[in-house]
Amino acid sequence: MATLQAHNPGPNARPQPDAAAATVNPTADEGRATPPPGRGFPWRSLRRYVPLVLLAVFFVFPFLFMVVGAFKPDDRVLADGAGWKAFVPFGASLDNFTDAFSRAEFGRLFLNSVLITTCIVLGGLVVNSLAGYALARMRFRGRKILLGMVVTLAIIPFQAIAIPLLFMMSRIEWLDTYRVQIIPFLANPFFIYLFYSFFLGIPRELEEAARVDGAGPVTIFTRVIVPIARPVYATVAILSFLFSWGELLWPVLVTRGSTVRPLSQGMAVFQTQPPIQWGDIMAFATMTTLPILILFLVFQRAFVQGVSRTGLKG
């Protein structure tokens, strides 16, 4: 199983706030246990796991509840909810999953979400990184104004502009389309800023070397900058994926039927159709969450590394 690895490549960068552990075993490598202080069972290190395990339970039990519920009949979800039975899959079946596909058109919504999210993530990476690069490295008139604009716009939440935007979109008859769910979300000031601050940190010598080597701005960007900036691309891709996969308000406003509607809205709509079938909802929720969880587990290394190397450091 993939796990969340801290980015920590160099042997020189190995901070250790826990001085006791450092003294006990200064060479201990990532993932290796602290050796027991004496022989026999390592009670001391076991004690250190107590808070870790309790916290893990706190963070994970809703997941367990969700997944177990997804396999239970509706009435059992409700009946078992208040006790330990909530976490044991009594009467497990796949009925809820098939229901989610037939009643809630999970398949359709899923494909919609995949399409919309993919377009936003990929398109956004291109648009935002190009802008971040221009801001960080090129001199052109209006650069500072643009930078100020990016920082200011990052404050405005989408909800604040949703209503006038809806007004605009209905005027140009974009409602109930994919594009109305994609194009407004491509450019993102926060992501531009992340790219900008990362690019600022790339040594200028590299670009100068590439210029001396004969590369033009586009070549330098694609062949030198982008490969170096992989961590920040990973970070932005994951954040962007999370944001658009989870976007709730806008689809409510701009979609009517299930033709172009994404998963998040299906989730919300599902709960308003009586009778509320909690088993189906759990199955729907599980299938909505699983792809992101998998994607995250695959990319988390790059993501964590990205966080530690991007402007997220402040």
């Binding site: 980015h7 190995r14 221009a134 990052a154 709960q271 909690w278 997220l312």
Partner: protein, 321 residues
């Protein structure tokens, strides 16, 4: 097009930016000018930001001074500050302001301290630690609509595990019914928000922890500092940038509070969990009072701007010390 406009007015020899990319335009013209490339690179973003953020926002500002409704028989006219007077006189909006303030004041410090504790915990070098990191981060990847739905069930006074456990422990005496209690609903929202969001901050702070020079800890140890003193005098100052980032972003996000409330309580019970954003959607969309909704958006923007500025000033002052 702003791009062309700016290009037309561009000075040929602007020196305010960083790199010179090409040969020097004063002397020859066959190389594409850096101005042009700069705008070509940033152009798509500029156009999109303008169309989908700046214009709607300006529209919101404009609409907030009118009586525009989504569908209305009345002609649109200017009403001056009327919308602003109405929203500030609206007890629900007042309540939402208070709720937003409470949410922010509680979540920002609590979540930041919690995240710092988690980061220190998962920065230990012991076996399986990366499993724990993953576990603590997992809620971040659960989208809010799903997380809120799950927690709605967990909080349920009849079928939820939380009250179930409380009843079992207290012999049936304690069953507060969280989201259905106007006194506790906001606390329940706060608790769930921290559960969902703290993992992200943990990762940011963890990245910072690993950048603190290890020699500093060794020096402190030689100076006789105990573990708490090392944390206080080395870890925390070393994480200053990350802590500032985390606190600033959390503040902005706190004001945006919407999704979990929308799914779990729709602002209830008795407006106990109304926020500026739920009020905005309610007024602007459900009641179709676009103009008043826009006024809320403008007020929201101004509040966030002021808070951000104040925060920045305070932090800058500390930096000057």
């Amino acid at each position: 097009m702003p791009t062309e406009d700016l290009l037309a007015r561009s000075r040929p020899n602007a020196r305010d930016g960083p790199t010179r990319w090409f040969g020097y335009r004063r002397r020859h013209t066959f190389q594409p000018a850096e101005q042009t490339v700069g705008w070509l690179f940033s152009g798509p973003a500029v156009v999109l930001l303008t169309l989908f953020i700046v214009v709607p926002f300006l529209l919101a500002v404009g609409l907030s001074f009118t009586n525009q409704r989504l569908i209305s028989p009345l002609p649109v006219r200017l009403v001056g500050m009327e919308n602003y007077r109405r929203i500030f006189a609206d007890p629900v909006f007042q309540r939402s302001l208070v709720n937003n303030a409470v949410f922010t004041v509680v979540v920002v410090p609590v979540q930041t301290v919690f995240a710092l504790w988690l980061a220190v915990l998962v920065n230990q070098r012991i076996r399986f630690i990366s499993l724990f990191r993953t576990a603590y981060f997992a809620p971040v990847v659960m989208i809010m609509a799903v997380a809120a739905t799950i927690w709605k069930l967990l909080y349920d006074p009849d079928i939820g595990i939380i009250d179930g456990v409380l009843r079992a422990v207290t012999g049936g005496h304690l069953s507060p019914g969280w989201l259905r209690s106007s006194a506790l609903a906001l606390i329940a929202v706060i608790f769930m928000s921290i559960w969902q969001g703290v993992g992200f901050q943990m990762v940011v702070l963890l990245a910072g922890l690993q950048d603190v020079d290890r020699e500093l800890y060794e020096a402190a140890e030689i100076d006789g500092a105990n573990r708490w003193q090392q944390f206080r005098h080395i870890t925390v100052p070393g994480l200053r940038n990350q802590l500032v980032f985390v606190a600033t972003v959390t503040t902005i996000l706190s004001f945006r509070l919407f999704d979990q409330v929308y799914v779990m309580t729709r602002g209830g019970p008795l407006d106990a969990t109304q926020t500026m954003m739920t009020r905005l959607v309610d007024v602007g969309f459900n009641q179709q009072a676009i103009a008043r909704g826009s006024a809320i958006a403008v007020v929201f923007f101004l509040i966030v701007c002021v808070v951000t500025l104040v925060q920045r000033l305070l932090l800058r002052e500390r930096e000057a010390d």
